[in-house]
């Protein structure tokens, strides 16, 4: 089945938030942005701006009738700041005017007097100032100090990774209209309509039943619209309440990049003990995430990083500590993988350093350390105490090697490198083990509402949002399969809080798991109600009724092959009969994930219902002169269980991989010394283009060797986030190519591995080769002095 909106996408008919019919009198919002990363607001004079043509309101903190806060976890995020600026470009007021140009012109006339204050920028500055969100978190197993002391080999090191902008093609958009009865209608590009509803209510000082939030579809989300959409919806609502007019916002790209949070930059420091075979004995890892100015979702992001440092590797004694730096930057937020990629990058760094320290092939050390079931002593429980459910790592790894002809290509790459001085190739294979479920247990629930009309057509409502990941298409598939009807009967309605309440964010790769089971439950309720009606029409026992082929039939006909058996009663006819018999034709469905629990304070539990597995092989070529690199070939093998929709799952895997490739290679978020975001447009922030994707790009879906022990909808697995981390193979392949410039030993490589970073790593290898010293000092790269941008667009 193709994407339910595919034809509307290609014709431009698919409607996004900002494309609804413009209501009469629509106003547009524009921010007044602070030119400091940290400042006190001494005075704010809106009089001139408010008097300008077309201006209907200038919103300041004083206009908030309810609670001036949109923090999803802590109440530390004022919608409009009252007295302090906490990041460069933060909006201190918003102008509502008849069009965007007028709003912008007026925003420039709002007079603000600031007293600049010292800003904390970056993780080291936060450490120096002891500026953190919340106390440190810890996940620990065993006797780390003892095992480290006893380990035959021990190394320590540091690695950091940069931020990543979501760069969804559709920037943040919201609009709000308050009707004559005082009902607040919010339409938002949000991954979490229930939270957007709650925030709008909270800010306006209204009960939730006075607010309806719907989401038509998003032009991409990737986590960037999990919490970040709330403030824009709330601002529109505030302006609508103040002016009595409908109010909309769609952020210009640069504002979107300046105002919203990104993937958290992380710093990982580690000490690891291991034996001569590279087997991990003990690991002490310290993670610091740059959380930015407010807490947002940083605690669960950090926690997911802490419980993914292990990736696919067992280590008996582990201590992971985590802190969230509180800095004067945008508040970093959810982004596909939600801390998992950062944690796994640190884990892969550790494994690679262990291997290169010992002079062993990294792929061998990786495989040696895999979690494995059925061993004594146990090596299939994570450091947070959860068994690695349905562990297929060995089978998957063997297949990935074979599919990619890894051994043979290793020889070819080595031969190429021996023959070429100016170009070096690198080859690497990395695994992915990613936990599926929200770390926050209460989010693991979902609802659905299925409405069947008398003509046999069906409206499907569920709590999930569509952002391109194909959730709606999968939900149509689940409903059609459960009801036995033609998918063409089913229309998915825009996600709306008045259809399905109290929903969770569409996030954590859980959208189809949670909503799929809720949809299935609703459909099963309908089946139960329709069964007696069908039995009556078919003249058979209720237990013999089968729903399939767009209707119902008696099981006597099930002997025929599928497609041959004509339904004994068509779905529309059955539905009409049910209506006549006064049978309810609508049902809700509800689901909560079984088995999971998590003790956040102890850092222990069973937070993930299951794991998604994958492996990737990447081959790169690096120019030794410039550090410019090219990805030559990629082989992906990924486990989606019994795919709900192969087209969509393949799209998620390919797309996730390329997004990870961007994070690890060309996407570099850079802030100036004053805290200003310097990369706030696609001219300065480079996501991959088609040319960055290798022509030789292979993907296979893994067929698991044994049935799942879990009960996920129709045997499927979540696929939204895990493939992003397949791209770690590219980083490791680059490291392999850099290693070919030296003579063994640890290779330090910055992330993102831009051409400059790769060249720096090559130079370090060369320098070591020249001096023949055993180890270079592991000095962290000094933060670059950033000058003003003197270049303009060509």
């Amino acid at each position: 089945m193709k994407h339910e909106s595919a034809e509307n996408h290609v014709t431009g008919r698919a409607v996004y938030t900002d494309e609804l019919r413009v209501p009469v009198g629509l106003l547009r919002l524009y921010p007044v942005q602070a030119p400091h990363a940290h400042a006190r607001i001494l005075a704010l004079d809106i009089a001139t701006a408010a008097a300008m043509e077309g201006v209907h309101a200038v919103l300041t903190a004083a206009d908030v009738p309810g609670v001036n806060d949109t923090g999803p976890i802590l109440h530390d995020e004022p919608l409009i700041p009252t007295d302090q600026v906490r990041y460069h470009g933060q909006a201190v007021a918003w102008v509502a005017a008849e069009d965007g140009t007028m709003a912008r012109a007026a925003a420039q006339r709002v007079q603000v007097v600031y007293q600049a204050l010292p800003a904390i920028l970056g993780i080291e500055a936060a450490e120096a100032a002891a500026s953190f969100h919340l106390p440190p978190a810890k996940v620990e197993r065993g006797d780390v100090a003892g095992a480290l002391a006893a380990a035959p080999h021990r190394i320590s090191g540091e690695v950091r990774c940069g931020a990543q902008d979501h760069f969804y093609l559709e920037t943040h958009a919201s609009w709000v209209e308050i009707d004559g009865d005082g009902l607040v209608h919010v339409t938002a590009s949000t991954q979490h309509p229930s939270e957007t509803q709650a925030m709008v209510a909270h800010v306006l000082g209204l009960p939730s039943h006075r607010v309806v939030c719907r989401c038509l579809r998003m032009g991409g989300g990737f986590g960037g619209k999990e919490t970040q959409a709330n403030a824009f919806a709330a601002l529109c609502a505030l302006a609508a309440q103040r002016t009595g007019r409908p109010v909309a916002i769609q952020l210009p790209r640069s504002l979107d990049m300046q105002l919203t949070g990104k993937r958290h930059p992380f710093r990982g420091r580690f000490e690891v003990g291991f034996d001569a075979d590279g087997l991990l004995l003990a690991m002490d890892v310290d993670l610091v995430a740059d959380g930015g100015w407010s807490c947002d979702l940083s605690p669960p992001v950090l926690m997911r990083a802490m419980v993914h440092v292990d990736n696919a590797y067992y280590c008996p004694h582990v201590r992971v500590t985590g802190r969230i730096a509180k800095t004067h930057s945008t508040s970093h937020t959810a982004f596909r993988g939600f801390g998992g990629p950062q944690g796994m990058l640190v884990g892969e760094e550790i494994i690679d350093r262990v291997a290169r320290h010992l002079g062993l092939p990294p792929e061998l050390v990786r495989a040696r350390n895999f979690y494995r079931p059925g061993r004594t002593p146990d090596r299939n429980h994570t450091h947070y105490g959860q068994p690695v459910v349905d562990n297929h790592l060995d089978a998957l790894w063997a297949q990935a090697h074979a599919d990619a002809e890894y051994a043979c290509r290793r020889i070819e790459v080595d031969a190429f490198n021996a023959a070429h001085a100016s170009r070096k190739r690198g080859l690497a294979i990395t695994p992915v083990k990613f936990g599926i479920s929200f770390n926050k247990t209460e989010y693991n629930q979902a609802g659905a509402l299925v409405l069947v009309y008398r003509d046999g057509s069906i409206q499907l409502n569920h709590g999930g949002t569509e952002m391109g990941q194909g959730l709606h298409t999968k939900m149509i598939g689940v409903a059609a399969r459960t009801l036995g009807v033609d998918p063409a009967r089913i229309r998915v309605m825009a996600t709306s809080t008045d259809k399905v309440p109290n929903t969770s964010a569409t996030a954590a790769s859980s959208g189809s798991d949670l909503n799929g089971q809720a949809v299935r439950a609703a459909c099963l309720t309908l089946i139960a109600r329709l069964t007696p009606v069908a039995a009556g029409l078919l003249g058979c026992a209720q237990e013999d009724v089968r729903f399939r082929d767009d209707g119902a039939c008696a099981s006597a006909t099930t002997g025929r092959t599928r497609g041959e058996a004509a339904p004994a009663v068509g779905f529309a006819e059955l539905v009409q009969a049910a209506y006549d018999a006064r049978i309810s034709l609508s049902a809700t469905g509800y689901y909560r994930t079984p088995a999971i629990h998590w003790d956040a304070a102890a850092g222990r539990g069973h937070p993930f219902y299951y794991f998604a597995y994958g492996a990737a092989v990447a081959e790169v070529e690096v120019c030794v002169h410039t550090g410019v690199h090219r990805l030559l070939r990629v082989d992906l093998l990924h486990d989606v269980g019994d795919s709900l929709n192969e087209n969509i799952d393949r799209g998620q895997i390919e797309g996730g991989f390329v997004q990870g490739l961007g994070w690890l290679t060309c996407e570099e978020v850079v802030w100036g010394a004053d805290g200003r975001l310097l990369t706030d447009a696609p001219s300065t922030y480079k996501i991959p283009t088609v040319a960055d994707v290798p022509r030789d790009f292979r993907l296979r879906l893994f067929q698991r060797p044994a049935a799942a022990s879990t009960d996920v909808v129709f045997g499927s697995k979540g696929v939204g986030e895990p493939p992003l981390m397949l791209a770690l193979a590219v980083r490791e392949a680059l490291r392999d190519a850099v290693a070919a410039c030296g003579s063994g030993g640890i290779v330090e490589l910055a992330s993102p591995a831009t051409p400059e970073a790769v060249l720096r790593a090559i130079r370090a290898q060369r320098a070591r080769l020249a001096s023949a010293a055993p180890q270079p000092p592991a000095a962290p790269p000094s933060p670059r002095e950033r000058g003003e941008d003197t270049e303009a667009l060509t």
Binding site: H3, E7, E19, R253, K686, E756, A792
Partner: protein, 483 residues
């Protein structure tokens, strides 16, 4: 059909004539389309960098044949549209039948969130009628969902399909034979090089006037009457400023359709390139003439930008990272400028005076550039964070002439991204004269090159990396290009 008075400016959109009366000349076509509820064309950036707003512009080539050219609607101010013919995504499907490029995207699962999809459809649409389906057709379109693999599969599917005549090829046929003229009431297609409407004044358009002269002489007369007006050609630089709401200028003189600027004269010793020739045409028609240009143009920008950007614009904006400027420096090009006070020739050496300041007087227009054809090793290099459609960290173009004994007789090493203007590495050039390019000489030249410039640190790269590249690229050139 909308009734249009002859005195009004108009353009043809999706085969209907649309008056420009009341439009704001500065507003981009993209914003205008969206206000008109043609929301299939999306804004992903408004800077010409994402391709979500790609539309097809009908343009007649030098051979008179009309083509669809993919362009970014965000960079096209309404003032440039009079007499133009534009197709948007809304025009492609007819009565429920998808265009083959749309069907291929559906078949190959080429859309996920769908927001970039209309732009891809339009790029593929232009490619379909040109018979082009390689990555260059879509590299100006950013997609954040699919990883491009399914879109590439759609392009491959299209490449394998037979292409029958259809209403769009008929439109191109009609546009190829239509008499030049405006406004485009009944004959479809107009006009790449046809005399466009004379001035925007008195034609009902709002905003600062976009004067549209039909000859150079008219252009200079307009400049004399309106000295504050600025030249506007492809608009891939000024269009960004307008799209961002900057006022830019109180009046504009559109020179993109002046036939005098569209000449391309290839001679044995030199090529004279009209300042208004879009770079995509240079890519097609000069292939094989200049090895360094062949290397640089694919890196220069994406297709949508190259369909509008010109050599004159690159020289006029004179950005230190204008990628064709080192090429002109390496070749010792001559810039022909003309104005109300007459014509003159400016050697490219000395043309760049300070950051975006040149030897061209404000009232002068770049008419053409003469680029000598050189024998001897020559090559272009560009290093950026991303290897396509990115701004250079450092760009370098080298041209050497070697004697029979292998000694350097002439050396031009030109760089972009290393200073406020594009520069030649003159100390290194002098050093190389009379020397053979052995390992010692190259090492010494590299040492000189590392010290030749004092580049800046910025968000693209450190000064150290730039200095290193100045040397590394030369070493790479010698290794690859000088045998």
């Amino acid at each position: 059909m909308i009734f249009t008075r002859m005195s009004e400016s108009s353009f043809r959109l999706n085969r209907r004539v649309v008056p420009l009366t009341g439009s704001d000349s500065r507003e981009s076509l993209l914003r205008w389309l969206r206000r008109e509820r043609l929301t299939g064309t999306k804004e992903g950036c408004g800077d010409g960098d994402c391709g979500a707003c790609t539309v097809a512009l009908v343009e007649r080539d030098s051979d008179g044949r009309a083509h669809f050219r993919a362009v970014n609607a965000c960079l096209l101010p309404m003032g440039m549209l009079a007499g133009r013919e534009v197709l948007t995504v809304e025009a492609l499907a007819e009565e429920g039948t998808l265009h083959p490029v749309q069907q291929a995207l559906v078949d190959c699962a080429g859309s996920q969130c769908g927001y970039c999809t209309p732009g891809f459809a339009m790029s593929l649409f232009a490619g379909w009628y040109a018979g082009e389906f390689d990555d260059h057709v879509i590299e100006g379109n950013l997609c954040r969902c699919t990883g491009y693999a399914p879109i590439r599969r759609a392009a491959a599917q299209l490449a394998a399909m037979p292409r029958a005549s259809d209403r769009f090829s008929a439109l191109l046929d009609a546009a190829s034979t239509a008499p030049a003229g405006e406004p485009p009431h009944d004959t479809p297609g107009c006009m790449a090089l046809s005399p466009p409407p004379r001035t925007a004044e008195s034609r009902g358009e709002g905003g600062p006037p976009f004067h549209r002269p039909s000859t150079l002489a008219e252009a200079f007369a307009l400049k004399t009457t309106h000295p504050q007006a600025i030249w506007f050609c492809g608009g891939t630089d000024l269009g960004v400023a307008l799209s961002r709401g900057q006022s830019v200028a109180s009046a504009f003189i559109a020179v993109d359709r002046l036939t005098e600027l569209h000449t391309l004269d290839v001679r044995a010793d030199a090529v004279r390139i009209g300042a208004g020739v879009p770079l995509s045409r240079l890519e097609r028609e000069l292939a094989g003439v200049f090895p360094a240009l062949d290397r640089m143009l694919p890196w220069f920008a994406a297709r949508q930008v190259k369909n509008r950007a010109t050599l004159g614009g690159n020289l006029g904006s004179a950005s230190p990272i204008g990628d064709l400027l080192p090429w002109l420096l390496a070749h010792g090009a001559i810039i022909e400028v003309a104005g109300p006070r007459g014509a003159r020739e400016l050697p490219v050496d000395g043309y760049f005076q300070a950051y975006r300041k040149t030897a061209r007087a404000d009232d002068e227009l770049i008419v053409a550039v003469r680029v000598p054809r050189l024998a001897g090793p020559q090559a272009a290099y560009k290093v950026a964070k991303r290897q396509t459609d990115d701004i250079s960290i450092v760009a370098a173009v080298y041209a050497l002439i070697l004697g029979d004994d292998g000694r350097v007789e002439r050396a031009r090493l030109a760089y972009g991204g290393v200073a406020a203007i594009p520069l030649r590495a003159r100390r290194t050039e002098d050093f190389l004269l009379g020397r053979a390019l052995d390992a010692t000489t190259v090492a010494q030249a590299c040492a000189l090159l590392r010290a030749e410039f004092t580049p800046l640190d910025d968000h693209r790269a450190s000064a150290d990396y730039r200095r290193e590249l100045c040397a590394a690229l030369f070493a790479k050139f010698v290794e690859e290009g000088v045998t």
